[in-house]
Symmetry: C2
């Protein structure tokens, strides 16, 4: 298998991206193309023992600078690592592209290079999300801020395939996120999506969930619009950070508590690990004619390792062809429904 | 001052509602009308020393049952505590109505009895929300799931008055919630609201905030639609609960950690208190011709006490007249703008 990594992406590139790719390649024997500034990448590679490893460097010198609009920069500078890396996949020289951070730029480059799968309304950004029982698949988390109900219905089917692969379950429970748990709850978008879903779905559809049910793990797939989804992900991170900040303050202001928490440190560490979504690999941009994953911008080498591993699992599971097949089935079902009505 | 309390509202009524009202009346000397089942309320009152206290009981026997649609029940059963209690305020016999839980029913009853202030697009549900620096005012948190941008602009002005009273600050910083911190971020609703706000506002408007900035306390007023706002509040509660659940599990599975956390218990308790929004009194339903506050459905006696206290502060600050005045000024400004354009 051959994967492509944007070696210049994220806060700790290229040091951590290259290190993560080296470890991944050593463990799994796959090829990883490292795309970006050749000199900088080679400098990092020289720090590791890469004999026997297949880590070709592809020069793509156009960096997206901090003060540039990422989407604009990707369009203007064609030799940036994202466009160059995705083209390797498009030309059949590699199986998937793994990016690090900067969702806006990845979205633009992905649409430019791969275009949408025929019949897909919009590409959807989805991510594994921790809940009390384990993980569920959550999306859209930021690709589309204003959505139509038929997009959400389609995403429900697409994310269901992703959940099968990621969570290794047969018949994922699928729900829409709403402001209450009763059927009919939601804004107009979610209400209409519920009606459409009831008419035509081939899923294990369980209706709407509200946040507490989502966090309890009641559904394996939770679908929402990209504005709400993005805010939910960011609010969850912000609340978690806020709680640990306050807890730290209250502990540090008490002598006995300070001693106590020193004893409890492993428990805190384990909690933080269960909350850290970087452990779960990478998000997935679904709906394009190419497999594109997105690792967190704060990714360190072990996170890059997991992101590449998650990407390789999606390639092995033939995620892209399964999605294409599902979309075609859905479109056929829809035209049958229309025929019956007319 | 005379307040009205829905003595039958919430999970622990009438025991906790009556007890909270007794303590509040004892400390502040105000009158609190207790509305609901006369026998049940009198039974609770008899448990306390109420000599010198002014706690008239108003019989309103029509209970909203668990299996009823609350909004429907309020319309059908006119002798329910909400409608009867609000009428006391409308007739001038009391200054404000404090409800407990069941937002849907309160909304319906509030619109039925008081109607909207002339010029107000929609009533907005707002609540104090904890952030790292203290509190901000957040709304809409569930009254309107589908919104128009001009509503959000109007709410920004209304919530700004509330923030002045609640947080005791002169010129509250006002922002819209968005999926990023750059100007122009958001869905179509928030983008249009930003443009409208830039054209006509008399506020200390600082643009958009994303969740991490909101939780850092960058704004004193954060405005959003009622679907997003409700989900943000519920997701925050769910994440907090989730974190403490995991932390507990991880601690209980480790002997040393268990000992340690026993020493740190006061720090945990203090943290939970800083996170508990019930401490801050009550939410406010703003935009009706009557002052209506909403305490949490899980409220115990001390929460009812704080809710009544917060309600009395809003009466003292002449919240209702200030809102009316602000709406009139805004409407005048809008028609001036229209004249200039034509």
């Amino acid at each position: 298998m051959k994967l492509v990594l944007d070696a210049m992406g994220g806060d700790f590139a290229p040091e951590e991206t290259v290190a993560g790719a080296v470890e991944f390649t050593r463990d799994f024997g796959h090829t990883v193309f490292l795309v970006g500034d050749e000199k900088a990448i080679s400098h990092e590679l020289a720090k590791h023992d890469t004999a026997q490893l297949d880590l070709p460097v592809i020069h793509a010198p156009d960096a997206v600078e901090m003060d540039e609009q990422p989407a604009m920069a990707v369009r203007r500078k064609k030799n940036n690592p994202m466009v160059v890396g995705m083209k390797l996949v498009k030309e059949g020289r590699a199986d998937a592209f793994c990016s690090v951070g900067n969702t806006g730029a990845v979205l633009t480059a992905g649409h430019m290079v791969f275009r949408r799968i025929r019949g897909v309304h919009r590409a959807v950004l989805t991510t594994p999300f921790p809940n009390y029982r384990g993980l569920h698949v959550f999306g859209d988390v930021g690709a589309n801020t204003d959505c139509r109900p038929e997009w959400l219905v389609q995403w429900a089917h697409m994310l269901s395939i992703y959940a099968k692969v990621l969570l290794n379950i047969d018949n994922p429970r699928v729900a829409f996120l709403a402001n209450g748990e009763e059927s009919g709850k939601g804004n107009q978008l979610i209400k209409t999506a519920q009606v459409m879903m009831a008419e035509r779905n081939q899923l294990n559809y369980i209706g709407v969930v509200e946040p507490k049910e989502m966090m309890a793990g009641k559904a394996d797939v939770v679908v929402t619009d990209g504005f709400t989804g993005n805010i939910v992900v960011k609010q969850s991170e912000a609340v978690a950070k806020f709680i640990f900040q306050i807890l730290k303050e209250e502990i540090l202001s008490r002598k006995r508590a300070k001693v106590g928490v020193a004893l409890a440190r492993p428990a805190f560490k384990a909690t933080l690990e269960r909350l850290d979504d970087r452990e779960y690999g990478a998000g997935l941009l679904l709906g394009l004619n190419g497999l594109v994953t997105i690792a967190h911008g704060r990714s360190k080498r072990e996170n890059i390792y997991f992101a590449l591993k998650a990407t390789s699992q999606l390639v092995e599971a033939d995620m892209l062809e399964k999605t294409r097949h599902k979309i075609e089935t859905l479109l056929r079902l829809q035209s049958q429904l229309q025929e019956e009505w007319t």
